[in-house]
Subunit: 306 residues, 2 copies
Amino acid sequence: MRVLVTGAAGFIGSALSRSLIRDAAVRDIVAVDLAERPAWAATGRVRWICGGIDDRSVRDKILRTEFDRVFHLSSVPGALAESAPQLGRRVNLDASLDLLEQLAGTSRCPRVVYASSIAVYGPCSGPVGSRTPPRPAITYGAHKHMVEIALADHVRRGEMSGISVRLPGIVARPGRATGFGSAFMSELLHALAAGEPYCCPVSPAATMWWLSVVQAVNSLIHAGAIAHCGVVQLPALRLTTAEVVEALAEAFGTERALLVEYRPDDRIEATFGRFPELDVADERALGFADDGSAAMLIRNALAQAN
Amino acid sequence: MRVLVTGAAGFIGSALSRSLIRDAAVRDIVAVDLAERPAWAATGRVRWICGGIDDRSVRDKILRTEFDRVFHLSSVPGALAESAPQLGRRVNLDASLDLLEQLAGTSRCPRVVYASSIAVYGPCSGPVGSRTPPRPAITYGAHKHMVEIALADHVRRGEMSGISVRLPGIVARPGRATGFGSAFMSELLHALAAGEPYCCPVSPAATMWWLSVVQAVNSLIHAGAIAHCGVVQLPALRLTTAEVVEALAEAFGTERALLVEYRPDDRIEATFGRFPELDVADERALGFADDGSAAMLIRNALAQAN
């Protein structure tokens, strides 16, 4: 099997690529990223292409291979796309449409997994899922939704098999992630695991969707393996800050809970701390799953970070 | 008031432009089309730009004016976009996004009326309206929906005031309209009005949404005048072929009904002859209206064609 991964040096992309390298069924991996080839990619099965997919010559280089499976993850993060919408359009929208158009022209009818985002929904109450009418409140989410539509149209035209996977914020991003409003979720995990104090910008009662990078990678690989086409919302655990802190205290020692000082920021609390129920019954029936428990979430989230 | 009309030589665009010329509140009209300036546009208030909006130099020429109101109608028709999706993307999607992006950069915060289409819905039952989840079944509809999303995002960013107006098939297009699967609706009206025999590709019981070009233009102008932002589904009469033939017979003589020979084409009947109820209560509350009756529909549809 020949596989393409865009954004292969990113947080999720590198975890996914490393998992694909371990998969005996994967013969060749073409990995694309703005970053130089990392050490883990120094294997003959990985062809590393350094460049952006908004560059026509980079896409032409990519498309010298015909792929069985494509994981399209590369994007400009939401906060950056919001402040530089033309850059966001060029990379998150136009380049994605160009890549899909070029893939549509290949003879192999690839299976395409597109990393979409919960940013498509915008503010909403009640159970949220793939049937919720999207009303994106950031340009990043608008572009993600537009690419979902384009992918669905390529599928309808019979040019590829495709699935758009809406990802929640994934933990635990390394270091101080920039451009992600939900970065505090990762920071909380890292701080308490390391025994460091943490000033938390949301209240103990703030409610978020939590998904580990390990489980996110499992879900992306599963999305590539099944035949289902369309949009799926990944299952995630809906936990309060307090529930996550409690699980961290159980894992690392009860005194760790005292390291958290709560200083809720109204804007962050409103945007990232009021997530409603998820409606993912269809996705569970398709075999997608969350981490199972807060304890497993923490183990999966921090295992990968090391 | 300075107004831009794209697709100004088209069926709807020319009727709209002629109506704007008669409006004393409109000071200047910039009219853009691939076609040369028509005779009715030979007035000092109309600046005619001959070219496609997918041409950057044409857009730059357009944007030398700052507009109070924009009617963006130009597009490649659905059947052509389906057979030439890259052309469809360039004109219907990319050029529309480029135009919106350039308008967003002007200081006047224009009111933008985007001519969207019922093609965004795809096959659906039950009452259809602006809240129906779009599942476009042609590339034309996918692109229309993507531009709706982009316009909504520009509105959210405060760069313009915008409304996407979903148009049904509009009657009565002149001559043998190509590229429109719903062309038979216009042909039926023209044939019976002229006393010519007509071979009808849908059954007497086929049910369509009917809207005259006069009423469509009224609706577009109304959409430009109100402050409401978002997507609206234009009200239209839901009539069977038999009901329209009956109204034509009342208008032009009962013997005209005998001119129709029904030879239903399964594909046309399935695609264009099974339209469900419309749910346009919100739009009626905003002041949008259909033609009122089959008799008025026919008068409005044929008045404009002459």
